[in-house]
Symmetry: C2
Subunit: 480 residues, 2 copies
């Protein structure tokens, strides 16, 4: 049993700043008041405790109110990724059986599913309010959020993230990063990803301000870091590089109060680390996934260069082991256990058990060195991480296979200076086919960031004896 | 399931300082190594996982090793109070059925129970070592410590404090107090009390140094606070006053890095608070008990004077309510709920249920103001808090009633400039009886701090219609 986060926080520190967005800010008491208002409006729109909704909006204050409103009312929130196509969103809406979709007006056109109960932000805002009794205590098992992530099959799975998952993740993190009453966490990560959402959770648990941006803007972000108006931030390498450039351009460094640059989505290039060090930015590289409600392991900034390429050690309440190995340094699948690991999925994967004896198989291949530091050497299902977004090759291959002229398709990641990695497709086709036609076809079915940046036409794909596609060989073709 | 505290901590931050005592210090790796050695020696002495031991020793490094050794081996530890009499200790040993008593040589004479398996610290140290397999994960329900506390009946009850209790207490506290990687917590509180023991728990969970003192020494403590060699400390008013005097005498103030003076055992006099403020010492008054594994509520230092007399607000994972009242300001019994509340007792009170629907009745009378701040107006069972030690009048009355010439006895607390409060006894006797004789008699049965400082001979005691002793009237007699 865990106290209702926002209710407890607004009781304990009502006058502390909870949220700032552009020129406005809200204390925890005000955040609760605003969120309660939206919750009563949701109630008036027929939503009740235990219902599941889907939510699609930009990262702004109203979105935060609606997220907290949903939690106050006791709803499960399917956090929709605004970069997806209509088709991808429709799939998730169908799979999740959401009772309603709450969508900001500017994104309304993306929800195009017949029979879906759609509530626009403006309509919600103008709704009447209906009182309800707020639960002061939540069971740990209660699902707070559902986030879709693809896997080996290429079919997105809706991952449940419970009160207990989110809470233990935030607690593990505080034992690792520390906490100061003047902390402000800058959030430019999408709220529909665990990297962004987890910042909102830390805010209510820690009594900490979130400085929210609608999108990443290197100039403004660098200024905040330089002046000390924020003390912590989550990034992917791409963003870190832009921030470093900006500070370097201005001959500036981070303010001494800046504590943590939490970098996810794969190792940070050593050049970035060295530049960050010169600018007084402590970079902590982290390894986590949707199924673990954010960080599982984090590398301290003092180890960053000496242990380059490592994802660090587990956070306090978490365990990591390598499957079926006996000695340090041996490769194997990375397994994760802890109170932050999802209890399971919804929809068509509802009966898929995510873990064995509590151990979540990540699909990632890695090893642990003599001192207990984790290294990831190969991502699950040849996962491509592009600017912090996870891209599963199988999902793109499935789409390509649907094109009438495509006989076979294989996708792998290609190193990219800006995005870290981008998807590239290898195609075996029947008849004439242009790359442009395939790109257009993909755009109709896949979020833009998933559309392959190159299409290479080949005679056959590399397969093993049991006909399994060897994506690692595709990578070798790229390098050749 | 929670990772074995010391094993996990020594893995995560092996080179951080864990403990310092006098001129020596130990990293977490060294603390684990030392403690494992003692654990293997305990194993060689016939102690096994699940066994219950009693432990009596002074606050020094060896005691800390033995405490951690007991946890590593999976023992339940009855933490014996070194201020008790032989008789009181014998009662607890009997009640707890401890398989062995581990006792430091200088305190060995206090363990005087036939048939008790006693292991002296020196003997343990010289023992052989026997290997065993350390559990990496603990169930939350596992009992770590048992501490005895008296209540309305005057019979000490052995309170179980589990892994989950201690862990959630430390986590709640970090969300309230924050955490800096340079934190050092000065411990001069007895380790056999939850106030001292909880510092050891925070140390392993936070990766924080404990600076341990054998006993409170105002001169040294003031110096540490002044130079910034410690950043946090737990005290009772008596100690705080001495520290303030020392700093004032030297014209010194606290170092800017000093963060928290956590003051338990009843409200701190406003004079102390004002002096502390002038010396840059943030005093946080706290309310807790053995049954709640340390703090339940804490008053922030910024509220200290404005909310004088308040115990503050609950820590994040805890709840406080006043029994059977509807409005703010109404008096009633204070009830506490949360993951830090004991699951129950051992020994003769094993079947006593400590809470109703998870709500622990404290016996204390209090109220919550309009803003949610808790005030304690009357302590449970007329509890007397003397220099931080809890004294239950019923326990002293029981002893006095055992004297052949005492017909009736009533005990209450009297305000005392040094100790906060001291016990005073009212006696109805048969025949001639001198105060001195009663004091000697009490000393044989009761720890020194419990022996009444005054004996007043009266003709009868104030009782209500059902013949219940009215201790509040005794207090009025004292004031008259």
């Amino acid at each position: 049993m865990i106290p209702n986060w926002l209710v407890q926080r607004a009781y304990l520190t009502p006058d502390k700043i909870a949220l700032s967005f552009r020129d406005e800010s809200w204390t925890f008491a005000e955040l609760k008041e605003q969120s309660m208002r939206y919750a009563r409006k949701m109630k008036a729109n027929g939503l009740n405790e235990g219902d599941r909704i889907a939510l699609l909006g930009s990262s702004n204050a109203e979105m935060v109110f609606i997220i907290h409103a949903s939690m106050l009312l006791g709803l499960e929130i399917v956090m929709l990724n605004r970069r997806l196509t209509k088709q991808e969103l429709a799939w998730q809406l169908d799979d999740s059986s959401a009772k309603a979709v709450i969508v900001s007006n500017e994104l309304a056109e993306w929800i195009d599913v017949e029979g879906t109960h759609t509530i626009l932000f403006t309509v919600l805002k103008k709704s009447e309010e209906k009182d309800f009794s707020v639960k002061g205590i939540w069971p740990s098992e209660r699902t707070i959020t559902i986030m879709y992530t693809s896997g080996t099959t290429g079919f997105p799975k809706g991952v449940r993230q419970t009160v207990g998952n989110h809470t233990s993740s935030a607690l593990s993190s505080v034992l690792n990063l520390g906490l100061d009453e003047k902390d402000v966490w800058l959030c430019t990560m999408p709220l529909f990803h665990i990297s962004g959402f987890s910042i909102l959770v830390r805010s209510v648990l820690y009594g900490m301000e979130v400085r929210l941006y609608e999108k990443f803007e290197a100039v403004c972000v660098a200024k905040e870091i330089q002046t000390g108006s924020v003390t912590r931030m989550s990034v992917v390498s791409l963003m870190l590089n832009k921030i470093l450039h900006e500070l370097e351009k201005n001959g500036a460094t981070a303010h001494p109060s800046f504590q943590t640059m939490l970098a996810g989505g794969g190792p940070v290039p050593v050049d970035y680390l060295e530049r960050a060090q010169r600018l007084n930015i402590p970079v902590l590289q982290t390894y986590g996934m949707t199924e673990t409600s954010s960080q599982t392991a984090t590398l301290s900034s003092t180890d960053a260069i000496q242990k380059q390429g490592s994802a660090g050690k587990p956070l306090f309440f978490n365990e990591i082991k390598i499957k079926d190995v006996e000695n340090a340094g041996e490769y194997g699948e990375v397994l994760i256990r802890g109170p932050h690991v999802t209890p399971g999925y919804i929809g068509r994967f509802e009966h898929t058990v995510p873990s064995i004896d509590g151990w979540l198989p990540t699909g990632d291949i890695g090893y642990v060195d003599e001192e207990g530091y984790l290294y990831i050497v190969d991502r699950r299902s040849d996962l491509i991480i592009s600017g912090g977004e996870n891209i599963y090759p199988a999902e793109i291959e499935n789409v390509l296979a649907g094109h009438p002229k495509v006989l076979e398709a294989g996708v792998c990641g290609k190193e990219d200076a800006e995005w870290g990695s981008v998807p590239v497709a290898f195609i075996v086709c029947a008849g004439n086919l242009e790359a442009e036609e395939l790109a257009t076809f993909c755009s109709e079915h896949l979020a833009r960031y998933k559309v392959p940046k190159e299409f290479q036409f080949v005679e056959k794909l590399p397969r093993n004896a049991s006909n399994k596609l060897l994506r690692r060989e595709l990578k070798e073709w790229l390098q050749a």
